[in-house]
Symmetry: D2
Subunit: 350 residues, 4 copies
């Protein structure tokens, strides 16, 4: 259970701290200057990551957002539009880099469970070709989809959308910040989720528990181009083997355990549902839950503060919902305790 000294932190899986194995690997890693491609740990890690994804090449970056930036810049030109689900991380949580830095106009489509429909995709592409439109040349997917509640897009959905995109001359980027959650949830190898896209990113710092870092992967040419863009945005690194070393531990030992997070998320959701809270347990496919809060007769600020006081940390509710994210520091008993404390705080705020 959460107490003052050790709250249960459900804000994000980014709060995960490195394991002892990671810290040891970091301090023992063979290092060099990655600008000169001299860091053996980075080189080995990038190769391992590319192999795991079944793609030609990979590159370490400092964050998932940077992975999205350099991928999309490598795949696009100024003055084009890109198509993205309207609640995707790129669209609502990445500080506007597409328009600010890349000269890209967003053309958002509202999807179902984070997945846009093939029909809407085709229509939006056609629309973008009008004489006063902004031609679309890039489709961005997100899997699992954060704002949709960690929902999984299955490989055939990706193949369908990427097929439409490619046959219309668009490139495809997958924001796979939590692609290993999708892989584990479906019990299918991660490469099945990326084979149809031009670039894919995944995060080391979320469920995989690393302190820092993300990976961009794709064909050798596009990764070469992305490497140049990483330099442009100031993301070049030197003895980056310290980050890669933790990444190696993550790829080898932290992927399978995501299953535990998913189970604990279901435990948390079920217990909340059993207590009458508005949550759809069937919709909990991975490690993210959204609880709908009452519109009337409910004080979200009081709820948020009360929950914090009880030792459960969440982000402030927004848009009538509160997000709960399960990760390595949330045990099954934490999940149960968090559910009970949630219910207490909930009733106190009614």
């Amino acid at each position: 259970m959460g107490n003052v000294s050790q709250p249960i932190d459900l804000r994000s899986d980014t709060v995960t701290k490195p394991t002892r194995d990671m810290l040891e690997a970091m301090s023992r890693a063979d290092l060099g200057d990655d600008f000169f491609r001299d860091d053996p740990t980075v080189l080995a890690f990038e190769e391992e990551a590319a192999d795991l994804l079944g793609l030609e090449a990979a590159m370490l970056v400092i964050s998932g957002t940077m992975g999205n930036i350099v991928s999309c810049m490598a795949l696009s030109s100024r003055g084009e539009s890109f198509i993205v689900e309207s609640r995707a991380h790129i669209q609502i949580n990445e500080s506007g880099w597409p328009s600010t830095l890349a000269g890209l106009t967003p053309r958002p489509i509202t999807g179902t469970n984070g997945a846009i429909s093939p029909g809407a995709l085709e229509e939006t592409i056609q629309d973008s070709r009008s004489r006063l439109g902004v031609p679309s040349r890039l489709l961005c997917l997100e899997n699992t989809h954060n704002a949709a509640g960690g929902r999984v897009m299955v490989p055939w959905q990706i193949a369908t959308l990427a097929g439409i995109a490619h046959s219309n001359g668009l490139r495809v980027h997958l924001d796979g910040a939590r692609i290993f959650n999708a892989s584990v949830a479906l019990g299918r190898p991660v490469r099945d989720f990326v084979r149809d896209v031009d670039t894919a990113t995944f995060c080391l710092s979320k469920g995989l528990s690393c302190p820092l870092g993300a990976v961009v992967a794709g064909g050798a040419d596009v990764i070469k181009e992305a490497r140049r863009w990483r330099q442009v945005v100031g993301g070049g690194m030197r003895q980056a083997g310290v980050i890669a070393a933790a990444g190696q531990v993550a790829l080898r030992s932290m992927v399978d355990r995501l299953q535990q997070d998913h189970e604990n998320a279901t435990v948390l959701a079920s217990r909340l549902e059993a207590a009458g809270v508005d949550i759809d347990v069937q919709a909990v496919e991975t490690n993210i839950l959204f609880v709908n809060l009452p519109v009337r007769g409910f004080d979200p600020l009081l709820f948020h503060a009360g929950l914090l006081e009880k030792g459960v940390v969440v982000n402030p509710p927004k848009g009538g919902r509160v997000r709960l994210v399960v990760h390595r520091h949330v045990s099954k008993s934490d999940a149960m305790a968090a559910a009970d404390l949630f219910v207490e705080a909930f009733h106190a705020a009614c």
Copy 2:
């Protein structure tokens, strides 16, 4: 009536040709090099336009889109977002300059009859302030609203929205491409529609019948800044008095006659409605009509071609609707004839 040699052109009021008076004024105009501010006709026209709008300063530009560009660039900085109705001309018909050129992220809000609601505006502004958001510093309004069917936003609506914007630190730009249509429709002076905004544009080349040109108006400082941006986008002009001279004729003699276009639009709409076509006559406030086409059992391509063959030119239907725009070259009898021909082509396509 439309015949082969003289079709009835309902594509846009931009097709209006200059009047004989305009052409004479153009050829008689006192000219100079406007870069040096030496063109007396431009100087006089800009002053006249500013006075008419009740604003400090005005500037001639070559197009309404350029007016929007230089206004918004003068009012914003890179890396900000701007709020705009989701079907506004800037959002869907201006080739994506906000993201492409200005580093501005669109935050569209779907409105009613082209007007966004005060509540949605406030919420979007707050949202934009989140740590991963893109701070909004600019609100763009459009009046009359083209894609909403030439709907008029009344002065108190503008005042309300501008008030919310200003009290939250946003500047306000009015895309008044057809602001004189709004003014004439309500029977209120045009200055009532611009007094609450920081910049406003209007087009000379639409209902006012000029061959070219638009005007940007606002405070002296912002117009000075917009003048620099006009140079940046390549919009600086030399003996621009030839354009301004037509503009002078337009401001003096072409505004009141817009009433005629509005009446003819109503004639056209009423006749269509009487024939059973899906159109809301009450919604026709100015010179633009949208007709909803049947979703099933209707061939829009056949309809479009058939109408053209009968001598009525419209843009291809899009999104299940067809737009009809009335202007100086569409007389009352043209409007009636166009309605009848529309109905014929319509039935042939069912």
Copy 3:
């Protein structure tokens, strides 16, 4: 001689006013909406301009700067560099659009008489390919070169530089604002000056005496792309036939007379030199002169004001020189009078 009511204006050839023939052509022109490609005068003019240059396609724009913008945007992508002479108009007199709008980094090379050397071009291209450089994909030339004093780059120089550029994967744009001056000066057809470049612009509003406008020409594909960029920067026009009509007159009747401007420029230069002013008559190849002013014992403000008072208008001296531009409104006797008045004002300022 210049008098109060009719000063001799040597600031720029942009001050030229339309001829009576132009104004008549403008008022008689067949017009249409060029957005719909319905303006017959624009269509005919663009074809005539393309033919004259021996290029596939041409497009009317409102200014030479806009011609440079849309050409370069069509030929480049964000994040590249472009190579340009360090005193070229694009580099010093176009308000910074390359970095501001196009994401292009300037890599200026100082040339001789406005022409960069082949060796420096090759070296700069190679340099740009370094891992921390900005890859060059565009070369911009200017002919005649304004800041170099209207100097002419001969066709083999253009061919040499363009050849180096193309063999290194760069595209080539020619800012030919005054390309007809080059053509007339060398007595060679204008097409000889543009056959090796991807896009070329020329101005209607300078020596050719039009009130407004410029032309972009090149291959059909690149002009199609440039047309889209013209829309993005707000340069789309409606009944642009009024501008094109003047352009037609210019192409047919104003080119050959540039020879007169060149002769008058030489008259002016010779008379100044004879009076002991620091000017290189041999360097006067077309209609632009630069006079070097004394560094010490000379008051440039006094000189400028004095000259103005005597009825000769020039731009304020800058960088120790004053520019004199001869054009259609400067007759031979004006040139002689201007020289004498210059000398008077010069001595008064020593």
Copy 4:
């Protein structure tokens, strides 16, 4: 002496590897999610860095380039120009981010020993204000100046240039990648070098031997703004305490030892000079040396390969010079050995 297994690496001080103390600090560091400002090590480090510089606030970034990017974006707006020495790192070694990302036009000035002259600064500012110029609002300085050979700009020079800038409405950024080298070389506290600027960056990964990271410092407001820009470019980090922990060790124990690098650089330079190599020992103020190579009768590729074979690693010569950088992994005896091997390879290449 360099041998096969342990070459003497003079390419850059970025090749420095973390010390044992750093690695231990990294593995023991108290960590949290810096996005939530929950990482105590980051917070403490940022405060320590700000205090050391005598500035209000500081922020950790992943690279010096990113530090320059986010500082300059916080201090500028799109469409402005910035003034910078023509061989500054920002101008030639940062992949063109100013034009590519920030809409900033470079206005380079060639300085002496990396320092631009006050007169040239004033003139360039004035020039930028012309009607067709790009207004300068930012001055970027670099200290020590890499391409000038690690030359030190003394505090009064910074004060003079910053004074001119500020009194003309420009903000000032100091690229202090090696500012501690300047501080140690002059024996003056680092705060003396930053008190007149708006933002300053320094690198952890160079002479200070950290694996990764740099710091941006300045007033609280500008650092807040820079923090937003760090997010925009994808530089946000999570458990960044692992980087900050090494930074703490660096600030406490790696600054004074830079003196040793400077001494060894002088040893290297003196020994080269004594052997007749073209190097100016007086110009070696810190840890960077440039050796001028013969223009004729010298094979730079052979020299580079020969030196590498002998166990001395340098970057390929460029522009007729080769750079040698001394750092923690270059002992005094390494410096002497490197000089001797350099001379051998040099003669073999003549």
